[in-house]
Each structure stands twice: as structure tokens, then as C-alpha cells.
């Protein structure tokens, strides 16, 4: 078959099968069945599109998957940063731990019983937190000195108001302040009521 002069200007779009079957010359030309060489990809119009590029739906999907992957990477990066920051915040330096939560020593005193002004009995079990072991040991070894201080304080308790948490807090602070006037090595930092009850008939 002879090449028609009009045919020379025509673009022939071969099928992919044909392209794969056609032998390719090293000079970038490929020949027809008769060996006549024709230029390849000389014009963009002649470029061979992939299947994804040629199908608009696939093209969109391809684009979306790229965007999704990009967003996923950004999200993972952001979450990792947040996690690392949080972990760093929860793991303070040792020196900071020491200053925020110093070691405290505890001592639970035997029940103290005091008679209120209305002759009711106030019974309380106290737990002390001391800054030094020696302070707690002093209370343990000299309970009578602690009671000398505690009994007058407890006697002054108003049975009507002691049920409120504010009154209890004030009393706990008073007890700590007064006991700290003893010759303690260290300080009583906290006083807690393990049990507090008022019993008997008011007179």
C-alpha cells in the first residue's frame, strides 16, 4: 500500500495493542508493516495517554487518593506532636518533683476525747503529716504534750457548726498551728480527721 499524499498529514492513532506489537527502532521511529518509518510523538496530539489519564473518573479518584494521603500524613504528624508534648508535660524534671511533692511522714494518733461546753463528748482520730520524721516521732513519743494542746482546742468546738467543711478546715489549721508551737524538729504540714463524732446529751 502506497502512502497517499493526503495521508501524510493525517494522524493515525494506533491502538495500544498495535503499539505494543510494533517493533521500535533505536532512532525513535517505528516502521509500518512494509518497513516505512514514521516519526513518533513528534506532536503532543500524538501522545499516548494512560488508562487512568484517559478515564476522567479514575483521574478524579487518583487525585482524591493523593489528597487523602497528604491529609493523613499531616494528621499523623499533628497527633504525634501533640502526644510528645503531652508526654513531656507529664514527666517533669526530678528537681521539680521534689519541690512540688516533698516526702511527708505520717502519724495517726490514738483517739482524743474532749468534753464540749454543753457537756457533749467530742471524739476525734487525728492523722498528721509531718515534714520530718522527727516531728511525727515527737508526737508519738509525747502524746500527753499533744493532748495538752488538743483538749482545750477541741473543747471550744461549736457542735452546731463543726459539721461544715469550712469549720473543719479552720479547726485542722488551728490544730496544726498550735502543735507547731511544740519543740518539733520539722513541722506538721497537714492535719486530717480520720473520724470525728459528737455524742451525748447537750446540757
Amino acid at each position: 500500500m502506497e502512502n497517499h499524499p493526503e495521508d501524510a498529514t493525517k494522524t493515525v492513532e494506533p491502538t495500544p495493542e498495535a503499539l505494543s506489537e510494533a517493533p521500535t527502532a533505536e532512532d525513535g521511529t517505528h516502521s509500518d508493516k512494509k518497513g516505512a518509518k514514521t516519526p513518533r510523538n513528534k506532536d503532543k496530539k500524538t501522545a499516548v495517554p494512560t488508562e487512568a489519564e484517559s478515564d476522567p473518573v479514575s483521574k478524579k479518584m487518583f487525585l482524591y487518593s493523593k489528597i487523602f494521603a497528604l491529609l493523613a500524613v499531616i494528621c499523623i504528624g499533628f497527633l504525634t506532636t501533640l502526644y510528645l508534648k503531652k508526654r513531656a508535660a507529664n514527666k517533669p524534671h526530678l528537681a521539680e518533683v521534689a519541690s512540688v511533692a516533698p516526702t511527708l511522714f505520717k502519724y495517726e494518733m490514738e483517739q482524743v476525747q474532749a468534753v464540749l461546753h454543753n457537756q457533749q463528748d467530742l471524739r476525734v482520730e487525728l492523722a498528721f503529716e509531718c515534714s520530718k520524721k522527727e516531728a511525727c516521732e515527737f508526737l508519738k513519743d509525747h502524746p500527753e504534750q499533744a493532748r495538752d494542746i488538743l483538749i482545750p482546742l477541741l473543747t471550744e468546738v461549736d457542735p452546731e457548726s463543726i459539721s461544715s467543711s469550712d469549720s473543719k478546715k479552720v479547726l485542722r489549721q488551728k490544730i496544726a498551728d498550735e502543735l507547731n508551737t511544740l519543740d518539733l524538729d520539722g513541722k506538721i504540714v497537714e492535719v486530717n480527721f480520720n473520724n470525728l463524732s459528737i455524742e451525748g446529751e447537750s446540757k
Partner: protein, 176 residues
């Protein structure tokens, strides 16, 4: 044989008669915390009320008077019960004083409670549950006779103090 010299007769040693008073209401006992007087020999200690006899006064009269003076509360003869006797040889060595103390207890009536002062010139008055008394700062010897007072057991005791410390003592209940 060396003749014994009686230090009381010679006036070198004095015997001070006094009373020690434990007033109860139900299971509570009235105690004084000696914390208000400067240079008090009993400073910081919890005691019963009481004091020295006036000249010519009986122990019971002394008890009623001292209790009124120190607590503000009037009591009658029949309320006070003799409980025991204590002797403190050379209790105040700087004054060469022995003390001879009669111990009484009484039960206050409900209407008398309002008369009881919160404090006097020597210290603050506190009602202490009987079970708590021995846990206070007491004279060391008091721990030995106060249980008899709480149990209403008659007793007799002699307590020897040296430099404020209990050196030795004898304290026994009296039976029969």
C-alpha cells in the same frame, strides 16, 4: 546511839496540810491545766483542784472553800467523800516543805455545772473524760493514785520527788 532530831519540831522542815479535789459529773472529771501563772511550780501540769488549809480549818471545810474559790461552784458537805491520803516528803525542797494532802471526790449535780468557771488565775478548767485523764501531762506520781480516785477505791500513798522527778513511791488501796 545518835539522838534523832525531829525536823518538824525544830522548824527546819514544814508540813503543809492541803486538799486535792476531784469533781465528777457522770464519767467526766474537772481538771485544771496550770498554764496561766508565771513561774508556777505546777506549770504545764494537769491537776485536780485544791489548795492549802487555812489555819484552824478542817479538811472538809478546806475542800468546800477551795473548790468555790477555784471553780466558782458552791458545794455542800454531803457531796464530798474522803477518798485517800497522800504524803509528799520534801515536795518543795527550796522551801523545806512536806505536803500532807487529803483527797476528796464529789459528784456535781447538773444544775451546778453552769457555775463552773472556764478558768481561774492559775489555769484553765476542763472537763476531761475519765478515760482520758491518765493521758494528760500529770505529775508522775498522780498516775499511780488517780486510778484509785476513778475507781472510788480508798488509798494511801507516799511519793518522794527529787528535782521534779518521782524518785520512789508507795501507794496502796485501803481495804475494809
Amino acid at each position: 546511839m545518835i539522838p534523832l532530831k525531829n525536823l518538824y519540831e525544830s522548824g527546819e522542815q514544814k508540813m503543809i496540810p492541803a486538799v486535792l479535789l476531784y469533781a465528777f459529773h457522770e464519767d467526766k472529771v474537772l481538771m485544771i491545766h496550770r498554764n496561766l501563772m508565771a513561774n508556777d511550780f505546777h506549770e504545764g501540769k494537769w491537776n485536780g483542784l485544791g489548795g492549802k488549809h487555812e489555819a484552824g480549818e478542817s479538811a472538809l471545810e478546806c475542800a468546800i472553800r477551795e473548790f468555790k474559790e477555784e471553780s466558782g461552784c458552791s458545794t455542800s458537805n454531803d457531796q464530798w467523800k474522803w477518798t485517800g491520803h497522800l504524803h509528799f516528803p520534801n515536795f518543795k525542797p527550796h522551801k523545806n516543805e512536806d505536803w500532807s494532802v487529803t483527797v476528796f471526790r464529789c459528784e456535781l449535780r447538773k444544775e451546778q455545772l453552769a457555775e463552773v468557771m472556764e478558768k481561774n488565775k492559775e489555769g484553765t478548767l476542763q472537763w476531761i473524760p475519765s478515760s482520758e485523764v491518765l493521758k494528760l501531762s500529770l505529775w508522775p506520781g498522780d498516775r499511780h493514785f488517780i486510778p484509785h480516785v476513778l475507781n472510788k477505791t480508798a488509798f494511801n500513798g507516799t511519793f518522794y520527788y527529787l528535782n521534779g522527778e518521782l524518785n520512789r513511791f508507795i501507794c496502796n488501796p485501803i481495804f475494809g
